[in-house]
């Protein structure tokens, strides 16, 4: 039964080899049929900005901030015409588009070039193949298959993918923690001037120093945070006990109240229900009776279940006699609960697998097109089916 260590029989090995070969062959065949597969297209936009010079008003002696406007806006164009050496900066921005937009553009330019022989300089359209993203897509497909390969057995591809996910995720979390928490909640408060200049230019600076002083309270979390990192230094490890104590303490205090209010009191409250309840369906007397039976039974079963399960979790008395019997009913309820959880969990897992297979079929292999990203019907589909 030990699948990952037991040597395989020759026939099994052969079957798996065939499966792998079939997959590789299908990918090769697929890439040569129809519009191919696994490409990403982007639309390019030139984001250029011109800096409007600062202006000084003599009357009020106020200085308006120099500001940036798009060069292709009315204001920008007017200004650039007047001041050709104004400060201009910019970059190219790429937006992902459905491949069908590219196909349409290609078809249009093909028509144009056949229609008139003089339009040789039609030039590349604004929609084009994005190499970084196309490579990315293939990398993603490779990683997907590399992880799936673990199902066959542990192998270097899987280990590589595993290492990548460990490294990337640790880095990812640090980066997000820095930009989304430390910058706005700490640096902005402790050094608003620096933050405004380099990170968050949209923020407002404290109007006076008196407004700023209270921010220095935030030196406390900074120091505690740094003490936490001291854990990395072998001899200063004990420093981290202080922030740890703070973390554990606040969490314990918060949870004590939260759970008693939200889970203890509210759930007792929800269990106080009448054992006899009139049904909601009252069309005929017969149905009224049945509906009442179903509704009352539900309430009775809930109350019995809560009490019996609580008895199972009662640790002061040995489970014998009546208590033992009640505790047993409690276990039955627990088992039904676990069965329900099992059913729901299975359901969730399969949906996740379906999503991954959809990624492979849709984004990478271009076999199906549920989101109508490529309206042109694929001929290769017929071959596969």
């Amino acid at each position: 039964m030990n699948a990952t260590s037991e040597p395989m029989t020759g026939s099994q090995r052969a079957i798996w080899a065939v499966v792998v070969l079939v997959i590789v062959a299908l990918v090769i065949v697929r890439s040569m049929i129809g519009t191919g597969m696994g490409r990403v297209y982007v639309e390019q936009e030139d984001m250029a900005f011109v800096q409007l010079a600062a202006s000084v008003d003599d009357a009020s002696e106020s200085v308006s901030e120099p500001k940036w406007v798009r060069t292709n806006s009315e204001q920008g164009k007017t200004y650039l015409d007047r001041n050709p050496d104004a400060n201009v900066i910019g970059w190219m921005e790429y937006t992902q588009v459905d491949p069908k937009a590219y196909f349409v553009q290609e078809a249009a330019s093909a028509n144009a070039s056949t229609a008139s022989t003089t339009t040789a300089a039609a030039g590349p359209g604004p929609i084009m193949l994005s190499w970084p993203r196309t490579i990315g897509l293939w990398v993603a497909a490779f990683f997907t298959l590399a992880i799936f390969s673990f199902l066959y057995r542990d192998n270097p591809f899987y280990k590589f993918a595993e290492s990548v996910v460990v490294g990337v995720s640790a880095g990812y979390w640090m980066v997000i923690g820095f930009w989304d928490v430390i910058v706005p909640n700490l640096i902005q408060r402790l050094n608003p001037w620096f933050s405004q200049q380099f990170f968050t230019p949209g923020m407002e600076l404290p109007a006076t120093m008196a407004d700023y002083w209270p921010n220095l309270y935030y030196l406390i979390p900074l120091i505690l945070g740094l003490m936490l990192i001291m854990r990395l230094v072998p001899k200063c490890g004990w420093f981290s006990l202080w922030p740890l104590a703070f973390i554990v303490g606040t969490m314990a205090g918060l949870r004590m109240v939260g759970y008693i209010e939200g889970d203890f009191l509210s759930q007792i409250k929800a269990s106080i229900i009448p054992l006899y309840e009139e049904g909601s369906v009252t069309t005929t007397p017969f149905r009224t009776v049945w509906s009442t039976i179903w509704a009352s039974l539900a309430n009775i079963l809930i109350v019995i279940g809560v009490l019996a399960t609580l008895v199972y979790f009662f640790f002061s008395i040995e489970h014998k006699g009546v208590v033992g019997g009640t505790a047993r009913v409690g276990i039955w309820y627990l088992m039904i609960t676990f069965g329900a959880a099992f059913g729901f969990t299975v359901m969730g897992r399969i949906a996740l697998l379906a999503a991954r297979i959809e990624f492979l079929f849709d984004d990478w292999l271009w076999l199906i097109d549920p989101n109508e990203q490529r309206t042109i019907v694929e001929s290769a589909v017929g071959l596969l089916m």
């Binding site: 039964m1 989304d180 923020m203 918060l254 959880a341 399969i350 379906a354 999503a355």
Partner: protein, 349 residues
């Protein structure tokens, strides 16, 4: 046979599972057909709660959309998230997106680009929706938000201070939201929101969640949670309700644009929605005599237009679900057959 099953390599089970999922995906992807959905009361309650958000205060609902999940659970949850944004956008609610998960902002971006950018481009950032991004600290973030919103959230993801965002005006704490709609994949998630916001401040809350969490959250319904969507089935049910409703709204919009008064338009739209196939017949009827040809043509377009693929994701996924569930039942039965056969053999010898 029993011997074969006893020594069955688990990779054959893996293969069976792969086929049970992959083949229905291909078939559904190629034919475009999905399995019909009948919504359960929980999904309807979820829908209604969002539909009436803000009505008790007589204002446009202010909904906090907390997307606490990551790509790992997106297969189950993104159909819910997309339908949720779809309903909010169509209903004209103000959407405040946020996340307690580091990759949550990516999930928010995805829903915004799939629903708002593509289908509701008229919505304005900062007036109709805002992305507050991620904050570390799990339930402590909720706790702080309950007391004061701006202590924790100083800027949106674009770095704009909240005071400069029009729709943040008057929003000081969690109590200013009319509804919390949470999409949750674990900790922190539905439970934390229920404990530290819905219970503590009596804010109405609905939640969509993974199959793993759903059974655990049932005790909160209908008290602390007003609506609950569990796993992909919940997503598919909710999605079908929203799709039907959106089409009805589109009918009503077209009718109002064509000069019908609102109450009448809603009524007619509901009628048309019952039998979308007969819309073209209806446009010839006496009731539609006052409508101009442009409106009629629009009604027929709405009735016949296919639902965009992104709004069918959940329902598409119910196909592989069906076959995989049958496989699971089969596997459990087979496993037990093997177990009991072995035990009987063991007993004899």
């Amino acid at each position: 046979m029993i011997k074969l099953l006893t020594n069955l390599d688990r990779r054959w089970i893996f293969l069976a599972m792969a086929l049970c999922v992959a083949v229905p995906i291909l078939v559904i992807g190629l034919t475009g057909k999905t399995i019909p959905e009948t919504p359960t009361p929980l999904a309807e309650a979820f829908f209604n709660e969002i539909d009436t958000a803000g009505e008790s205060k007589g204002r446009r609902g202010h909904v906090l959309l907390a997307f606490d999940y990551d790509p790992a659970s997106a297969g189950e949850l993104s159909p819910m998230a997309i339908s949720l944004v779809h309903q909010c956008a169509q209903r004209g609610l103000r959407m405040y997106f946020m996340s307690l998960w580091p990759v949550g902002p990516q999930m928010i971006d995805e829903s915004i680009s799939k629903v708002i950018d593509r289908h509701y481009p008229e919505l304005v950032y900062g007036e109709d929706y805002v992305n507050l991004g991620f904050k570390a600290g799990n339930e402590q973030v909720i706790k702080v938000m309950g007391i004061d919103l701006t202590t924790e959230f100083r800027t949106d993801t674009k770095g704009t201070p909240l005071q400069q965002i029009p729709m943040m005006k008057g929003m000081t704490s969690l109590e200013d939201f009319d509804l919390i709609a949470e999409i949750s994949a674990g900790y922190p998630g539905t439970k934390e929101w229920v404990l530290y916001s819905a219970t503590q401040y009596n804010i109405p809350m609905v939640s969509g969640m993974t199959g793993v969490q759903a059974p655990l959250m049932y005790p909160y319904y209908p008290g602390q949670l007003k609506g609950l969507l569990g796993a992909i089935k919940g997503a598919a049910e909710y999605e079908s309700i929203v799709n039907v409703w959106v089409r009805e709204q589109k009918f009503a919009e077209a009718l109002v644009a064509g000069g019908m008064d609102e109450a009448k338009a809603q009524e007619v739209a509901a009628k048309l929605m019952d039998k979308p196939a007969q819309v073209s017949t209806w446009t010839e009827s006496a009731e539609a005599a006052d409508l101009d040809p442009k409106t009629k043509a629009e009604l027929i377009t709405i009735a016949t237009a296919p639902i965009p693929g992104e709004f069918l994701e959940g329902q598409r996924r119910m196909g592989p679900q069906l076959f995989a569930h049958l496989l699971m039942v089969l596997l459990i039965i087979l496993g037990n057959v093997v177990f009991f056969a072995q035990r009987r053999q063991g007993g004899r010898s």
